[in-house]
């Protein structure tokens, strides 16, 4: 009886925010965005692994929760609660439409996390992605259109690629649960095609280099509540999709793995470079996200080449995605709070190209001096400590510090994973 009720909570967790998405409902309820997450909270608190088959829904689907899924759900709750609180506390005119997009995206996000087969994941993530477009549009800088246009173009291309991958899979096996798909697709003649369709599809959705432009632009130009969600929603679900769909751990895909690793390394180098020359504070989490997704791609590539290593360490991937989502949300939240207090942040850091344009080759000296000051301020613990103590610059300190700590933690995780 208790188990049946618990099963039903799986359905309620997805259906409740969907129901609340109706403007007639959420406009009459206090704190609707927070209330929408209550069943999910209950789901996390309850112990055990349960599943709920829904054969009459979406060509037959199933929702389930286990230990790995709880990691992602935990991240999901943290990120969405933060965004809901930002919306609630800001004086910003959060319209009914905005709340509807928010709740629809939440529904899609939860459904994608809880679904146990490909069609369910695809359907829910599609709902999430298109609703997220509404969030990206909310309160965004009307002058910066490119990132939003790129988002929707990439989204359509990704959906087409993933639909092709789905069709390939369904023509091979009737059972579309993740484990069966992995085993089956690794052995088919179309395994390489399937692999690339999935990689390309989810790279576009998650903003992985070289399809990162929409992500970078969105960090800079959208509303604070949405930037908090960027890491934990489209990026995290894109990575989760790649993790669940790719036939890694069954056979070695040597050539594919090498290409993927090279792409990951380039992504990391590119992101690192961008991170240090960026003139905008709000772009830092964007390059950090590109950096982390590059790391993720390297891990996928390594797993593609060495199935044994992957099978031993696969359990770390869900926590990786969860920490990625939470840390990106934390950094973005902190930086955006700081930016709210000090709007002219661009002037604090000078872009190398701007300096060159203004000063010719004398820029080298000026740029070097600027970097030295930045590094000094970045690592000068005494100054940070003093700043923190006298509360003169706590936001500056916290933003840099959280960035550094997160990078450190992730590097530690990756090293541990590689060493294992």
């Amino acid at each position: 009886m208790i188990n049946d009720s618990y099963n039903m909570i799986l359905l309620i967790a997805v259906a409740w925010p969907l129901l609340l998405a109706f403007p007639a409902l959420h406009s009459r309820i206090p704190w609707p965005l927070h209330i929408a997450l209550i069943p999910t909270l209950v789901l996390i608190v309850f112990p055990g692994t349960v599943s709920l088959p829904l054969p009459k829904l979406l060509l037959g689907t199933e929702l389930a929760i286990n230990g790995e899924v709880k990691w992602i759900l935990l991240m999901c709750i943290a990120v969405w609660l933060t965004a809901a609180t930002v919306i609630h506390s800001s004086r910003d005119n959060s319209t009914n439409n905005h709340r509807t997009y928010f709740l629809l995206a939440l529904t899609g996000n939860l459904g994608a996390i809880l679904s146990t087969e490909l069609i369910g994941f695809f359907s829910f993530s599609t709902l999430m992605s298109y609703s997220f477009y509404g969030l990206l549009m909310h309160g965004s800088d009307k002058q910066i259109k490119n990132s939003r246009h790129l988002y929707i173009v990439f989204l359509v291309l990704a959906d087409v690629a993933l639909l092709e991958a789905l069709l390939l899979t369904a023509s091979t096996t009737k059972n579309l649960d993740y484990q069966t798909v992995r085993q089956t697709m690794a052995e088919t003649s179309s395994a390489q095609l399937y692999f690339w369709l999935v990689i390309v599809g989810f790279s576009l959705k998650a903003g992985i280099w070289p399809a990162h432009q929409w992500l970078a632009g969105s960090f800079k130009s959208t509303h604070r509540s949405t930037t908090v969600l960027l890491g934990g929603v489209p990026v995290a679900i894109g990575l989760l999709g790649a993790l669940r769909w790719l036939p890694i751990g069954e056979h070695s895909f040597y050539a594919t793995g090498i290409v993927v690793i090279v792409a990951g390394i380039v992504a990391i180098l590119y992101a690192a470079r961008k991170f240090f020359i960026s003139t905008s504070l709000m772009m830092l989490p964007a390059w950090f996200a590109v950096f982390l997704t590059g790391l993720f791609i390297i891990m996928l590539g390594t797993g593609s080449i060495y199935p044994d290593i992957w099978n031993r360490n696969e359990h770390l991937m869900h926590p990786f995605i969860a920490v990625l989502g939470i840390s990106l949300a934390a950094i973005t939240f902190t930086l955006s709070r700081r930016q709210g207090k000090e709007p002219d942040t661009d002037s604090q850091r000078a872009n190398i190209f701007i300096l060159w344009a203004e000063n010719g080759f004398d820029f080298i000296q000026q740029w070097t001096e600027d970097r030295r000051l930045i590094l000094k301020s970045f690592w000068n613990v005494e100054e940070k400590y003093q700043g923190f103590m006298d509360r003169a610059k706590p936001a500056v300190f916290m933003s840099r510090w959280s960035t550094a700590i997160t990078i450190f933690v992730f590097l530690g995780l990756v090293l541990a994973w590689l060493a294992a």
């Binding site: 054969p55 060509l59 439409n97 709902l127 087409v160 639909l163 092709e164």
Partner: protein, 499 residues
Amino acid sequence: MNWNAWIPLIVVVSSALPGLIIFNLAENRIRLRTTLNLIGALVKLLLVGWMLWGVYNEQIFETRLPLLPNLDLVLRAGPWALFFVTLSTVLWLVTTVYAIGYLEDSPHRSRFFGFFSLCVSATVGVALSGNLITFLLFYELLTLSTYPLVVHRGTEAARRAGQAYLNYTIFGGALLLLGTVWLYTLTGTLEFTATGFLQNLDEEHHPALIAIFVLLVSGLGVKAALVPLHGWLPQAMVAPAPVSALLHAVAVVKAGVFGIVRVVYDVYGVDFADDLGVTDPLAWLAATTIIYGSLRALFQDDLKRRLAFSTVSQASYITLGVALASPIATIGGVVHLLHQGLMKITLFFCAGNLAETLGIHKVSEMNGVGRRMPWTMAAFTIGAFGMIGLPPVAGFVSKWYLGLGALESGEGWVIFVLAGSSLLNAAYFLPILHRAWFLESTHPWPKERKFGNRETALSLLLPPIITALMALAAGVFATGSFSPLEWAQLIARREFHQP
């Protein structure tokens, strides 16, 4: 008395009779006309429900009346026929409600609703036809009853569109008649059968059978809007919105596509047609139409014209599914007959609402309209997402089965056609949604709200919402009992003799 032998005829008459009475009503008899319309639609719906239940339980519903020597007028309710009849009947009821609101202050309403009812009778007759001669009769009746609807406004543009419509459809009808007569002289029968009736003909007749196939498909291709016979459809969008909805989603285009399906499955037989080598060119023609229609839609600023070219593209999915000659592709094609109807009628209703309420006719005028007419644009969004093939709307289910069917039959190139079409559909539907929901209005809407707090009249608002929800439900509960997909699977099993 065997009622089952009369029900198909009563279903046809249930809309024709009110139509004939309505013709003779004075313009001011609004209440009587509305009552007759709705009673006819509801009676038809009940009878179709009865037949659905009966056919599901393998009962036979067949009306046979002598027409010519050795040729009977046959109305038979099989799974295929009922699928189309159900679509027509349900959507007729919804469209009638919509048309009552849409034409509230228009002249010539008795004439309009009279032909409207006759048009649905002809469509149901086309669907229930048990042989090619019965099909031909109702097919031509459909042409005659829709022409007055196309020219209903009486403007110069409407007359030109009507002229084009007549030219195309009479030409198509002549080809169809020629093919039918030739076929009859060759075989001595025109009776639709589950496996076709041509496989036993000698091989020497095969060239003639190919020529007849070309004649029949060309004749039907006019109404099905296959390229290059599609020219009438974008012109006919000058008709009032309920007529456009009827042409694109319920009656004319569907009758043409349904005819092609009948010819492939019940005249030639899908296996024989495949052996004869006529299905591959048909598949290529359908694929060309899919891409061509989408490309043309991309460049239309007139909303209804964009939707019209979208129909040119989307209707050919059905033909493509049939031409692939595999059980799964058949499911995709068949189910798209109904899914496309639900989605396209939603889009046309919404286009009508925008035109009637705010005077919006062009895509470029739609900035910010989502905030002024949220329910209409929510319905439009569901319809557009379905057309793109996004889950969980019904269009995804169609594309899913078409894609699987293409892989099953070894026609991998179809996947690229489906992908290309999806991209093009997204390219011409998403900008509309972007404008409507996210851009600021470029000019002020009329401040006067004639309908209280509602965005438009209830009779205009409810039909698109209902059809949008039906399109959504057909996708979300695709595997549910009595869903369109389940019915399409039943049809495919019977056509391919599977258990």
